[in-house]
């Protein structure tokens, strides 16, 4: 026989989906937010993103080639995605070397030691970001004022930081709000903040794109946002003078970015819808807890990392609904 037929176990067809398609799909979904960041912070955001992506990819390549001695798999896009997400979580003014350190932590500590793609328990980009936040608090919380390009950019505070500071000083929330951008501005992204998190609108467009392309399911983003809204809403109803309204909480800070892009990271999120909803709810509640009473004005990164640690437990104890898991009596009649 000149040509050999292939034999393989069934199924013999495939959906055509691939890891690469998923990773690049997510990156594509981040493009609107990136464009907005360029509008707001100019070339700085291009610099930060490129360096972060390049550093992540290079670190992964080096580790795979020289330490693990395996065939490099950087083309799968996961390292690039980590880079983009890391860049989106830092201020546009962050120094390049700091970013490279962050990338090294992301890839070299949070991802590869656990076995690389698919095995890391914590979201690598967030580990890198939190490492930077704790190590370089000044640079990581100096936010360039939007539109002021250049090295000597004026820095300002994020709406959440202003709120936190104000509440600490005993100012009523309504007073503080007078110094803050309007909800419309917050939605579009006309505020200070990390590179990619500012425009809720652009992120939602990206999120919808991922939902339509079935890269993610609705469970995690919806449960994160809903739980955050409900939890903050309860306190707002109790005392509107001390607590900000849920809409404000939803559209400021990294909540939308976190809900759509960080919490839904497949590797570090639970494996079935029920567990995903619990996971999302945990993130939402923890975020608001940190925002209201924590030391940091923003808590989504920590919330996601904490819930990441819960994922193995959730996978173990929350099982999907099995077919036929009913008793015979109830099905009859």
């Amino acid at each position: 026989m000149s040509k050999l037929f292939t034999i393989s176990p069934s199924p013999h067809v495939h959906s055509g989906d691939s890891v690469n398609k998923i990773m690049y799909g997510v990156i594509l979904a981040l493009v609107p937010a990136f464009i907005w960041s360029v509008v707001m912070f100019g070339l700085d955001s291009v610099r930060v993103t490129l360096i972060a992506v390049a550093a992540c990819v290079v670190f992964e390549l080096l580790i795979q080639k020289f330490i693990l001695k395996v065939k490099p798999q950087i083309a799968d896009g996961s390292a690039a995605l980590t880079g983009v997400l890391l860049a989106f979580n830092v201020p546009a003014s962050v120094p390049s070397w700091m970013l490279i350190v962050g990338a090294l932590v992301s890839i070299g500590i949070a991802k590869m030691p656990f076995g690389g793609l698919g095995n890391n328990p914590f979201n690598p980009a967030l580990v890198g970001r939190v490492f930077m936040l704790i190590s370089f608090p000044v640079q990581m919380t100096s936010w360039p004022v939007a539109g002021s390009f250049g090295v000597d950019a004026v820095t300002t505070a994020t709406p959440l930081a202003i709120l936190k500071e104000g509440v600490k000083n005993g100012q009523p929330v309504i007073e503080i709000f007078k110094n803050l951008p309007t909800n419309m501005d917050l939605l579009i992204g006309n505020m200070a903040g990390s590179l990619g998190e500012i425009s809720a609108l652009a992120l939602i467009i990206g999120g919808l794109f991922m939902l339509v392309r079935k890269i993610i399911t609705w469970h995690i983003p919806v449960s994160v946002m809903l739980s955050a809204a409900i939890f903050s809403g309860i306190f707002w109803l109790i005392d509107p003078a001390k607590f900000a309204d849920p809409i404000f909480h939803l559209i400021t800070g990294g909540l939308i970015l976190g809900a759509f892009f960080m919490a839904t990271d497949m590797v570090t999120s639970p494996m079935n819808p029920k567990a995903q909803i619990i996971f999302g709810a945990g993130i939402g509640i923890l975020t608001i807890l940190i925002r209201l009473w924590g030391a940091y004005p923003e808590g989504i990164s920590f919330a996601i990392l904490i819930m990441n640690a819960m994922v193995p437990l959730l996978n173990r104890y929350v099982k999907p609904k099995r077919f036929g898991e009913v008793n015979i009596q109830s099905t009859k009649g």
Binding site: F5, T6, I7, P9, S10, H12, S15, Q73, E325
Partner: protein, 443 residues
Amino acid sequence: MLKSFKIGGVHPAENKLSASKAIEVLALPKTVFIPVGQHIGAPAEVVVKKGDKLLVGQLIAKTSGFVSANIHSSVSGTVKKVETGPDTSGYQKMGVYIDVEDDLWDEQIDRNNEIKSAITLDSAAILAKIQEAGIVGLGGATFPTHVKLIPPKGMKAEVLLINGVECEPYLTSDHRLMLEHGEELIIGIRLLMKAMNVNRAAIGIENNKPDAISEMIKLAYRHTNISVVPLRVKYPQGGEKQLIKAVTGREVPSGALPISVGAVVTNIATTFAVYEAVQKNKPLFERVVTVTGKSVKNPSNYKVRIGTTISELIEAAGGLPENCGKIINGGPMMGKAFANTEIPVTKGTSGILMMPEKESKRGETMPCIRCSRCVSVCPMGLEPYLLMTLSEKQIWESAENEKIMDCIECGSCSYTCPANRPLLDYIRLGKGKVGALMRSRKP
């Protein structure tokens, strides 16, 4: 919104290339090889010997137990030898080789084309006929039909479901049967209902076959107790448990048989065989096989004698395409690939699918990225990623607790996995091991 089953499911490209091709009768082969183990259960015992003269429809191997089925000669001629030959799995199986001479049918078979609609036999006689004719589930599972129709003690069938779903891509044999032999099918359904003493039957048909739906509705109109249920296209709707869920809303409990919710499912081709066996005295020795593939010249549906070599079918459909890289016995989701085309058509052969070379190789396997797609598409609500890991690491007890035995091997998980992981392959392996473990535990 049309009915369908609830959990999971995928929708592979349908590719029903031969849907508009009427069933053709394939020319008689020169020799046939009829294996005696064409069904689930014990292989039949050969009752002929070398040199015996045979008529079409004559018994050549009789059942060797309750879960077994008779085998009949599909041709007339002389027994060449009783020996082993290869089957789809490549392993040698016992069977009967027959040199074809003429086409002389057993006189008991009614070869008249007239449709015989009067039902004269009683329940027991119908069951006896079905058993006698060696009818097995023709959808591919090949479970002896008479066993299925006799419910275990303490259980009673309430509804008969006819599986006209044909959810496997490419395959169209059931579709064509519904279009061309609808009337016989209705009689077959009535026979089955009488055999089991049920007064309700439903035919589940996916709505990618609107012509079949309207045809069956038209024919079932006169029978108030037979309904036609159009279903939303979703794989694996043809799975027994999924079909029952979709049509009746009942959920077969884990580990139980469909009869535990009062349902019995038979396939369209099987129902047709029942009609022929009971009304025409014709044992099961031929079936409709879809021969198809994207680069096949002439994708068609053939009525073939059991035992005909598959190469003859391929020749009839325009020969093996140049770029064929894989040949599959059955559909692309659950069929078995084979390399040797000199193997016989058996009762379970529902289709021959030739895949082009570029579609026949699997993609590169990547690490699991925990996207949880396998979990969301699993129609049994299992966690394929976990079952695969447990099988790979040989942790059989945990696999059993995670309900590995509930897996229906539909392949939705492997189909959907973006990392091309061999999920089902390992789960199947685990099922085998866990099954053996469970059997060994029984006293």
